[in-house]
Symmetry: C2
Subunit: 269 residues, 2 copies
């Protein structure tokens, strides 16, 4: 007889205080609480602080345990189990997979939403959400693997005048988080390979660092000017702007310090 | 001497418990708290419940007061002021406008993020966020105003195999919230006008109602089958799927009851 419940609870963006009141309440009623930090990472906190905030012991699952899912599902068959995830749950396919397997077993599932980089980054820059095309992720290049689909996605979006949210790779197990600098260099390398005139040294790019923290960075500038700038600790995110609306130009000037010379250029377009 | 602060705090999706712990903490330190419900609406709560939860009196601004902004800015010049907004702040241009005016006056500004329909809807349906193109909004048609840009956006996305998040109009002052049914009918009307073969009676559409509540509806079906179905109280949202990945097909079958016959059709594509 299956009468358990699996609740996916979003931890939000940055630290242990980004969870919602609803999420906290749900955790208090759970028999068992899991989390995992391989699909994403809250860089402003640690497991001790999260445990202290939610008032429960939390078992941190490895990548293998998360992907296998059995540990979670076995308990969720009979009990109320929470899986805490960074951001808004279900952005990682692994979580969708676990939810589908739970549902197929007859386990009730539920989602408690959290804040996400997908809306936080446009918000911090003052860019309009509905002017973003498809998002993409830059992966750390591997020996024989240098995917250039992000380049194609940026190209498609640009041709339609749309902005592109460019998420940067996270390899939590290696404590490796792609910086905005590495991301920009990868994009320039893709340009070198494809020569589509999509990402140029003179183009405007936006960088957001530590969204959700009390001191996030939101900076807009010319790639060559900010390529080696230090944006501080992770996580970093990039935005390749498409056609900017006049209020968006003002926003990245005032909120993200786009130099006046660049603002004038944009205003002439 | 300007030394005030204006903090935009996201209330999240549905009721008074969708705010983050961080948001709640910030409110406690504010001298004055405003909110407005004309750009969006939390349908699972009311101002009394929100006030009780945050432990402060909240002044609800009218549309005019929000757009004018002076009431907020005058106090924020000297004090710490919060503006509570539904979802994740800054999705409404009005909020960006207020933030820019505050920044130009020398008022410090800050954002506390909240959960948003933009990621909640894909999550509830088990659809992958990075497979969504540009989002769009269906407005209530006015006498001489029947914009069809949503149709063009859906067309563009479909041609690229991407899903479209279709937000539905809110006229809070008239307590008018577009239902999924009205939305589907509008889309069919746009098809009649444009004949681009983009939205057909036999096409699959996804409906999400009351995202963020304890009993959200996530339903996938053929437009003609669900056109007159009752999805209950607002808010409703639509998704027009593009090309579905096999895990997404399974997701809308299991999590959103897509009929088996439709699943088989999709699997053959």
């Amino acid at each position: 007889m299956i009468d358990g419940t699996l609740i996916f609870i979003g931890l939000g963006l940055y630290d242990e205080k980004d969870i919602s009141l609803k999420g906290l309440e749900e955790i208090k009623n759970c028999d068992k609480v899991f989390t995992e930090f391989y699909t994403a990472k809250l860089t402003g906190t640690d497991i001790d602080k999260i445990e202290k905030t939610v008032g429960k012991t939390i078992e941190v699952l490895t990548r293998e345990e998360t992907e296998k899912g059995d540990k979670i599902l076995n308990i969720a068959k009979e009990k109320t189990v929470a899986l805490l995830t960074c951001g808004d749950p279900m952005t990682a396919t692994t979580h969708v997979d676990i939810r589908l397997r739970a549902a197929k077993m007859g386990i009730k599932t539920r989602i408690i939403h959290g804040s996400s980089i997908v809306t936080a980054v446009p918000g911090l820059l003052g860019l309009q959400n509905y002017k973003f095309g498809r998002a993409t992720t830059l992966a750390f290049p591997e020996k024989n693997y240098f995917p250039t689909s992000p380049y194609d996605i940026i190209k498609e979006n640009k041709e339609m005048g749309l902005h592109t949210l460019v998420l940067l790779d996270i390899q939590s197990d290696k404590k490796r988080y792609m910086t905005a600098n590495e991301g920009m260099k990868l994009l320039l390398k893709m340009e070198e390979k494809h020569k589509g005139n999509i990402i140029k040294q003179e183009d405007i790019i936006c960088v957001v660092a530590r969204a959700g923290s009390s001191e996030p960075i939101a900076l807009a500038g010319i790639i060559k000017d900010i390529l080696d700038k230090d944006f501080g600790p992770p996580l970093h995110t990039l935005v390749i702007p498409g056609k900017l609306h006049f209020m968006e130009i003002e926003a990245i000037q005032i909120l993200a310090q786009l130099p006046a010379q660049q603002v004038r250029k944009l205003q002439k377009l």
